[in-house]
């Protein structure tokens, strides 16, 4: 029994500091994907995880179990288009923004900026005498 619990913990429990970050990060996953695709024309799943790791110096890590569902949802919503190419001995699925996706990226980024500004006010309020 203990062995089973230890095994489950191994998969589910992450270091506290990391866990907090991952939670904050989860709601922004779609915006991050869209922003990356706006900068890189087309990308494949693994490339996205590596790019985020590289840009955030390993601070944020997109989990595989969250990335693909997010990509498939964005595709179903018509924000992403797919392209498949044979790379070496395997097929690779590339994602790129559709016209609608490009517009939506701008909206989502604006929303994110607004959210960050609000959070900034909340966690770091500037007091004035007025």
């Amino acid at each position: 029994m203990t062995a089973v619990i230890a095994r489950i913990n191994k998969y589910t429990i992450k270091p506290q500091k990391n866990m907090g970050n991952q939670k904050l990060f989860k709601g922004s996953l779609q915006t991050i994907i869209l922003k990356l695709l706006a900068q890189n024309d087309k990308m494949y799943g693994y490339e996205i995880t590596q790019k985020v790791k590289e840009l955030t110096k390993g601070e944020l890590k997109i989990t595989e179990g969250a990335l693909y569902p997010a990509l498939h949802k964005l595709e179903a919503d018509g924000l992403l288009d797919v392209e498949v190419a044979k790379v070496g001995n395997r097929l690779r699925k590339y994602y790129k923004l559709t016209e609608h996706g490009t517009k939506e990226t701008a909206n989502k980024l604006a929303e994110m900026q607004e959210f960050l500004k609000t959070m900034q006010h909340l966690v770091n309020p500037k007091f004035s005498l007025e």
């Binding site: 489950i8 998969y11 589910t12 494949y44 799943g45 693994y46 590596q50 989990t63 595989e64 179990g65 969250a66 693909y68 569902p69 498939h72 949802k73 595709e75 179903a76 919503d77 797919v82 392209e83 498949v84 044979k86 790379v87 070496g88 001995n89 395997r90 097929l91 690779r92 699925k93």
Partner: protein, 229 residues
């Protein structure tokens, strides 16, 4: 170090063993695992393929590929409905709107007759039999487990996004058990029932016959890789 053809095949088998049955979903996961294994080999070149594969698989979490498969199914359901809606719309433009109108008129007339319930129940029963007949006919043509099946392909051919004999059986039961009496209903209510029945007929026809007959076109439209394999 790159993965060999055999190792890629083994990854496809691995995804199948972990309940990923459709080629489109498998391909994406295989590429992901392959990239991750190759990345692991950069740091640990002597690590065995199976070990490296298990390390990569663990990154998907305790539920493995289940979450990816479930969400993909959900996204594909949405796509299926979009295609279905596209075909339904055709039935409200010329020349098909004439047939739609005729079906509606037939239903509306039947509903006002004395034998309304009996006729509706009998026609639903006939539809169920027809549906079951085609379902078994298609099953006998089913591919071997190792053949590549796409998720949308199986939705068009088999599950039809749930809109199959099950829906018809439910309608049959609803009418049969709830003791509906069409003769006591107001004309507006009968109009609504006739509209609903017409829509059901069209949707049934599209999912059972139109979409399967256009499966190839629909698959090429959805999957750029369909022509590559």
């Amino acid at each position: 170090m790159k993965l060999t053809e055999t190792e890629i095949e083994r990854l496809y088998k691995f995804t199948r063993e972990h309940f990923v049955y459709h080629y489109d979903v498998q391909s994406e996961l295989v590429d992901h695992l392959a990239n991750d294994i190759e990345q692991t080999w950069v740091a640990q070149p002597h690590l065995k393929f199976e070990k490296a594969r298990d390390i990569s698989f663990k990154k998907f979490g305790v539920f493995g590929f289940m979450d990816v498969v479930e969400k993909k199914q959900k996204a594909m359901n949405k796509h299926y409905w979009k295609i279905l809606l596209r075909f339904v719309k055709e039935w409200f433009t010329l020349p098909k709107i004439i047939i739609t109108g005729l079906i509606f008129m037939v239903f509306f007339t039947i509903l006002q007759s004395t034998f309304a319930e009996e006729t509706i129940i009998a026609s639903t029963l006939i539809l169920v039999i027809v549906d079951l007949f085609f379902l078994f006919k298609n099953r006998s043509k089913k591919k071997t487990p190792n053949e590549k099946t796409f998720l949308l392909e199986s939705m068009i051919g088999e599950t039809r996004n749930g809109f199959s004999v099950l829906v018809l059986v439910n309608i049959f039961n609803m009418i049969n058990l709830s003791d509906v009496n069409f003769n006591t209903m107001s004309i507006y209510m009968l109009l609504l029932v006739a509209i609903f029945a017409t829509l059901m007929c069209i949707v049934f026809y599209i999912t059972a016959f139109v979409m399967p007959s256009k499966a190839q076109e629909l698959l090429i439209e959805k999957y750029p890789e369909y022509k590559m394999i």
